[in-house]
């Protein structure tokens, strides 16, 4: 199905796309057909800078299981960081 189910957030940081590093301003998270991953649906994340055009994008397509593992890893890493660092 074409879900259009999308969460949009503002982010600060950098990403490396096809043309090199660029400043990130936005991220979208959505569940839909992948472009490349061999699955019918994937959890997709786009890291973006819309002001720099559609090609300012770092994309990943993850299985639901991988996406959950990634979310847990991010949270665990931040939780275990020394005070004041994260």
């Amino acid at each position: 199905m074409c879900t259009y189910l999308t969460e949009k957030i503002a982010v600060a940081g950098s990403g490396k796309g096809a043309a090199g590093w660029f400043t990130l301003t936005d991220a979208t998270v959505y569940l839909d057909h992948p472009q490349h991953a061999p699955a019918e649906h994937t959890l997709n994340i786009d890291f973006l800078n819309p002001a720099s055009g559609p090609s300012a994008r770092v994309a990943v397509e993850l299985t639901a299981e991988s996406a959950r593992a990634l979310a847990r890893a991010i949270e665990a890493t931040l939780q275990s960081a020394p005070p004041g660092l994260a």
Partner: protein, 247 residues
């Protein structure tokens, strides 16, 4: 049929007089041909849909696929363009109709056109094929598993499309519907509801639902591909267009 064809990227006049990119494939060595507007799926104006466009030319039709995301992302790669268009909620219905209408006009004006033009769309394009056939003078329409012709997106889904089954009485041409029996968008119940609406409106149509197939069973580069359904579906398309567009 020798399947000789030529394919190229061109510019056409779409909705609002905008110049947009389009992919044209036409048969070679044929004095007269019908036309097909190919509406790409949500993942965009991509290589696999260009391959489908060439397939129509190999079978004797001039086929034209407008880049529905061209305005959001001129010159971007298809996947980046699709992401940009998706983030904005997809293609507005009015703009879709204008772009398909522009493509149909281009096909009718080609040297060798027999004046007949059909439309086909996949996935989100299936709904858009129905929408185009209800909004424009066309000769044949094919809806490949288009969701939300019947029914609304589930609660909480920020999908900017609504049901258009009420447009059934406006259909300008016969409709061929190809669906997967295991698909949920559209579900078999929604396909039945559309079938009933078309019967009620007295509109010629034929629907085929394939057991063992779900959404996107024509997509040869995706796990959803189902060879038996796709092969039979293509044969249904050739039969249908042969009746209404060929010559």
């Amino acid at each position: 049929m020798n399947e000789a064809l030529i394919a190229e990227t061109i510019s056409i006049t779409g909705h609002g007089g905008d110049e947009i990119e389009a992919y044209l494939a036409r048969p070679l060595g044929q004095d007269s041909f019908g036309g097909v507007v190919v509406i790409h799926h949500l993942p965009g104006y991509d290589s696999s849909t260009k391959e489908i466009t060439r397939k129509f030319a190999a079978h004797g039709y001039a086929a034209l696929m407008p880049n529905l995301y061209y305005r959001e992302a001129p010159g971007a790669s298809p996947d980046d363009a699709a992401a940009a268009a998706r983030a904005r909620g997809g293609v507005p219905d009015e703009r879709l109709v204008g772009d398909v209408g522009g493509a149909a006009d281009y096909l009718r004006a080609m040297d060798g056109s027999n004046g007949r033009v059909g439309v086909i769309g996949y996935c989100s394009g299936g709904r858009q094929s129905f929408l185009a056939a209800a909004s424009l003078p066309l000769d044949a329409a094919v809806d490949c598993y288009g969701a939300f012709v019947v029914g609304s997106p589930p609660e909480g889904m920020p999908l900017k499309v609504g049901p258009i089954v009420h447009l059934a009485p406006d259909l300008s041409c016969p409709l061929l519907g190809l669906f997967g029996a295991e698909d949920q968008y559209p579900s078999p119940e929604q396909v039945d509801e559309l079938d009933k609406a078309l019967i009620e409106a007295g509109k010629p149509h034929e629907f085929h639902s394939y057991e063992g197939a779900g959404h996107a069973f024509f997509s040869v580069n995706r796990p959803a591909y189902r060879v038996e359904a796709a092969n039979d579906g293509w044969q249904k398309i050739w039969d249908f267009y042969g009746r209404y567009l060929a010559g």
